[in-house]
Assembly symmetry: C2
Homo-oligomer: 203 residues x 2
Amino acid sequence: MRTEANTNGKMGRPRGFDEDTALDAAMRVFWEKSYEGATLSDLTDAMGINRSSMYAAFGDKEALFRLATTRYANGPAAYLREALEKPTLREVIESTLRGTADFLSNPDNPRGCFSVQAALACGTDAESVKQAMIEFRKHGDAAVKRRLQQAQRDGELETGVNPADFSRYLGTLVQGLGIQAANGATKAELHRVVDLALRHMGY
Amino acid sequence: MRTEANTNGKMGRPRGFDEDTALDAAMRVFWEKSYEGATLSDLTDAMGINRSSMYAAFGDKEALFRLATTRYANGPAAYLREALEKPTLREVIESTLRGTADFLSNPDNPRGCFSVQAALACGTDAESVKQAMIEFRKHGDAAVKRRLQQAQRDGELETGVNPADFSRYLGTLVQGLGIQAANGATKAELHRVVDLALRHMGY
DNA sequence: GCACTTCTGGACTAAAAAGTCTAAAAGTTT
DNA sequence: AAACTTTTAGACTTTTTAGTCCAGAAGTGC
């Protein structure tokens, strides 16, 4: 099987698959079926590798899931980080909501938002995974909050508004859109929800 | 064991538990752990009954879940139907959002919204349950839409606004609040999100 | 009190899950 | 090409799951 030369300096047979490609496939399965709903067979089938290879390369199901989460943040969900880097508050907000509507209706992605679909509620032995996803979502809200504090320093956001509250409000809209998408809302429908949200915010 | 007289007209030993009480307990378990995450033992333990009694009284796990869903709609979620009966549009909207914030921070309820927590994403053999919950949520949005159409006839909602879009917008807020609650947002925090939403809508 | 019917407890079954193990295959280095 | 190391395939194990079964308990109506 063709592979690049062994990168880790060690000898031995090189891995017959690309870790990142396999991880992408696993991410999609978790996204569609949730942590508990995805079986090891679902995962390895999609990844195109054997069970042993999965365990050797990634550890176990939970470790694979955590890696998939990171990959989600840096891959499909990177648009959110980029939105926060826009120069003005207005652009930040528009780009966050428009980007979300586009993201959620991208036919290449499973319906809904990974961070909500994957492990919102679950059985007792997936409790740690659920907790990790809570932290993941809070982490996102915190990044928005910091950007809003910046906007407040820039005089773009009235001082009467609490950045933590406003970030929770934006998070509510973004994650609410995720549920609408999971319900099957189309791209146009999601954008019309964003139209209303923006209009109400005065944009 | 004390029971009312046999209501179904037939003879035999009467049921040793109250169906509705047991169903409430099952509903809570599904709400906390999701359909797939709730094991039969979780359920029967919470219901305080034996496995055989559960199967005899409710059918199987999926049938129990569907009954629990109906009970949710008529019990804890009834506040939403009541909100739609308010005389003015403003009251409908305020009551929906305020009611949701209260509902989601009621310490007697599990965190989050049953209709989202219970089966948003799941494995292949729970697909039908997932679909049923999509219908459940859409059904709710449709009821809001009808109320908004009424408001439009009453001249309370500008004719330029599409009731279907506006109902999706409200659904986005309500379900987004559910995720915030699942993240651990407090009652005050949820109400401050609602403050922002209402203020932006001009209320 | 007796015949009858339905419920109940708990052991049992079958299927599916995650995770392990071993022998063979496939590269790498010298 | 030979020695070495790691990967791979797939069978295997263990645990957990939903669902079944049956013997006995507990009511009802006459």
